[in-house]
């Protein structure tokens, strides 16, 4: 390799090749992905994030939630994602087109959150998530499953009436006498974002890849809205580990 300019050109070409081969080609394939208009519902999907949820996504990013939680459900024959009740169909690229900070994540120390607000039978509500973030325990249990992020809450003296947003504890956990635990604005945005995560709508491309099950009875590729395998899915409220 005596020729410096030729060597330099080689470096440039190799880099461009991998960039074009992965990023540019997929941009060509997915870059113009449009929302899907459902004539039956007279509405297009996915929904765009509300203002408070978009702010919550920034909180999700700055706290590094993606270090423990993914946001992508895989197809039924690849992992136990759907058996765990994380979603009833696989995630597709169209789900993410309105997200400014896509957080697929690379680690599952806790459950996948793609479809947190669409879990069966009863998804978490605001109060559940607030308590989970504050105590680190799923409401109704005594097992620490998440780091308690008390810094997202304000422990303040009650002045006048107790705030409507103050956490209403059961199970013996209470604020100090005369105090209340109130979610900060960051906590409210984060929870609004988490409750906007809902992938229940079926796109045409999210249906076909499910293979026929061997026993052939409880699976129907044409009706992906069918509930996941009965008995296999733990109720969402039993899940959750940091």
């Amino acid at each position: 390799m005596r020729n410096g300019p030729l060597f330099f050109l080689g470096l440039f070409i190799t880099l461009s090749l991998s960039w074009a081969g992965t990023v540019l080609l997929s941009q060509h394939q997915l870059g113009a992905l449009a929302p899907y208009y459902d004539e039956g519902e007279s509405k297009s999907f996915p929904d765009s994030l509300s203002g408070i949820a978009a702010r919550g996504q920034l909180v999700y990013a700055d706290l590094g939630c993606a270090a423990c939680h993914t946001q992508a459900v895989r197809r039924p024959d690849f992992g136990a994602d759907q058996a765990r009740g994380w979603g009833e169909r696989q995630s597709v690229a169209r789900d993410y087109i309105y997200q400014t900070h896509v957080q697929l994540g690379a680690m599952r120390l806790g459950p996948d959150l793609t479809n947190l607000a669409g879990r069966k039978p009863t998804p978490f509500d605001t109060e559940d998530l607030m308590k989970l973030l504050y105590t680190g325990m799923i409401p109704g249990t005594k097992v620490l499953t998440h780091p308690p992020y008390a810094f997202l809450f304000e422990d303040r003296k009650v002045v006048g009436e107790i705030s409507a947003k103050a956490l209403k504890f059961a199970d013996g956990i209470t604020a100090a006498p005369g105090h209340e635990i109130v979610p900060t604005e960051r906590a409210q945005s984060l929870v609004a974002y988490l409750l906007s995560l809902n992938n229940t709508y079926d796109y045409p491309e999210s249906r076909p890849v499910a293979p026929e099950k061997k026993d052939g009875e409880k699976h129907d590729a044409a009706a992906p809205k069918a509930a996941p395998a009965p008995g296999a899915a733990p109720a969402p409220k039993e899940e959750g580990k940091k």
């Binding site: 880099l15 990013a61 706290l63 270090a67 136990a80 087109i97 599952r108 733990p234």
Partner: protein, 478 residues
């Protein structure tokens, strides 16, 4: 090419004009690298404790697990790996170029700006500015500054390459120049695609995967290999075995390396050809690992701290490539994806491969830069033994934890609380490993600081006892 022709006035033929003129700037780069290594070690200890004890520092938003992990990763990549890799890369280019390094003031300025920007960026992450993109966690506002600082440091390398005395080049020069040139390209491309004008939807994951993989295969791995190729050839004192294949291995790494990033997206909401191409590339890339192993196999069984560490690094680099190729397959990825096993592979590459090769190069370079032997032989061997044990323990424990976690995750009946219980013993071992690594790197920092101080404080260097006879160095450099 003989190096004796360019020996400085120093009594020892081992120390060349490149070394004496570049002493200050390169020691500055290495010193900051080691400081960041210790800082990232403290943060790694914090995150590993949080894995077994979730309430540890949980009330402190600065050290929430996600942020502490982003801090640790950034301090390791942009603090330790970048500073140390650049120091070794520039040193190799200067020595093989045959002329003293030029524009060294730019290196000093660049280093100061790079590390200041990094420190600002880390404060930014701690206070809520993280981008949450793997390997690119630093807030957007410091990234352009880092690009300019990098360019300032790189000027010296470019001049050394252009002004080289011998038009023929050596393998370590190819790797060093490639790393030096390619990083600004991938870094700026990633900034545009992910920070300034983010691409749409899951394309962000594709672009992020391309960047993270490129940062390893096109930047850090070549820097580590540049040091390893140089030191092995110098110490062994003869042409590397199967050296004719080295160019093929080099271009193989550059062409295929960045394509392998898509393996982490298997099963994800991206076009299926992306992981497929990555799986094929991982297998083809084995050619690079095989040839590098053939070239550098002289490092095995040799004495001396530098070669022992490089032999460890080489083994980890090759083994890491093999594990990457195996876990890329969908049937294996089904178990290892989203688990500690991924972390183990990353640590095997970054700590076992890159860092060990760079440690070896540092043990070889610093005595030549300071003009005297390492201050303490005890600290030197203490560091070598502790860091080797630490890396093995870390990779094995995280790998086992990940394997258990992967099997448990695929069984919908196992709750996350149970997974935490099953992996706990191995994660405790990982805490011990991080503690050991931190202790080891403290030894290196102390040893480095003592050596650097001694060379500054006393004018007349004593006879470096660790040097070999200069006469034996008068051989082809690569």
């Amino acid at each position: 090419m003989t190096l004796s022709s360019m020996s400085s006035a120093s009594s020892n033929g081992e120390v060349t004009a490149t070394d004496t003129t570049a002493r200050g700037p390169l020691l500055l780069l290495l010193g900051s690298a080691l400081l960041w290594l210790v800082i990232s070690g403290v943060l790694a200890l914090v995150t590993s404790i949080q894995l077994v004890h979730p309430t540890f520092l949980a009330e402190c938003p600065v050290f929430s697990y996600g942020r502490a992990q982003a801090l640790q990763e950034s301090a390791f990549i942009y603090g330790w790996a970048a500073n140390a890799g650049l120091a070794i890369g520039l040193w190799v280019l200067g020595r093989l170029g045959g002329e003293p390094l030029r524009a060294l003031n730019w290196v000093v300025v660049g280093t100061l700006f790079w590390n200041t920007a990094l420190a600002v960026g880390l404060v930014g992450i701690a206070t809520g500015g993280a981008t949450s993109i793997a390997f690119l966690q630093l807030p957007g506002y410091v990234q352009p500054a880092m690009l300019f600082a990098y360019a300032a440091i790189g000027v010296t390398g470019v001049l050394a390459w252009l002004g080289r005395r011998n038009p023929c080049t050596f393998a370590s020069q190819w790797y060093a120049v490639a790393a030096l040139f390619l990083f600004p390209w991938i870094f700026s491309a990633a900034q545009v695609m992910l920070i300034w004008s983010p691409v749409r939807g899951t394309l962000q994951a594709v672009a992020g995967g391309w960047f993270a993989q490129s940062a390893w295969t096109l930047w850090l791995a070549p820097l580590g290999l540049a040091g390893a190729y140089y030191v092995v050839a110098k110490i062994k004192g003869r042409v590397l075995s199967s050296y004719d294949f080295a160019p093929h291995a080099f271009w193989c790494l550059l062409v295929l390396g960045a394509f392998t990033g898509g393996r982490h997206l298997v099963g994800g909401p991206v076009p299926a050809w992306i992981p497929s191409v990555a799986i094929v590339s991982c297998s083809l890339l084995l050619f690079n690992y095989f040839v590098v192993f053939l070239n550098l196999r002289g490092a095995f069984g040799a004495g001396g701290t530098a070669l022992k560490l490089i032999a460890f690094g080489l083994a980890a680099y090759v083994f890491g490539g093999l594990v990457d190729a195996i876990t890329a397959f969908r049937s294996v990825a089904l178990i290892t994806q989203f688990t500690h096993f991924d972390t183990a592979q990353q640590q095997l590459a970054l700590y076992g491969g890159f860092s060990m090769m760079i440690f070896g190069a540092i043990y070889y370079a610093v005595p030549r830069l300071t003009g005297r032997a390492w201050a303490s032989a005890g600290l030197t061997s203490g560091h070598r033994i502790a860091v080797s044990l630490g890396v093995v323990l870390l990779v094995v424990s995280l790998g086992m934890a990940g394997w258990i976690q992967g099997h448990d995750l695929n069984d919908a009946k196992v709750s996350f609380t149970d997974i935490a219980t099953h992996t706990r013993p191995w994660l405790l071992a990982a805490v011990a490993a991080q503690g050991l690594l931190l202790g080891a790197n403290l030894l290196l920092l102390v040893n480095f600081a003592m050596s650097a101080c001694l060379s500054c404080c006393s004018a007349a260097p004593t006879d470096p006892t660790l040097f070999r006879q200069p006469s034996t160095m008068e051989v082809s450099a690569s």
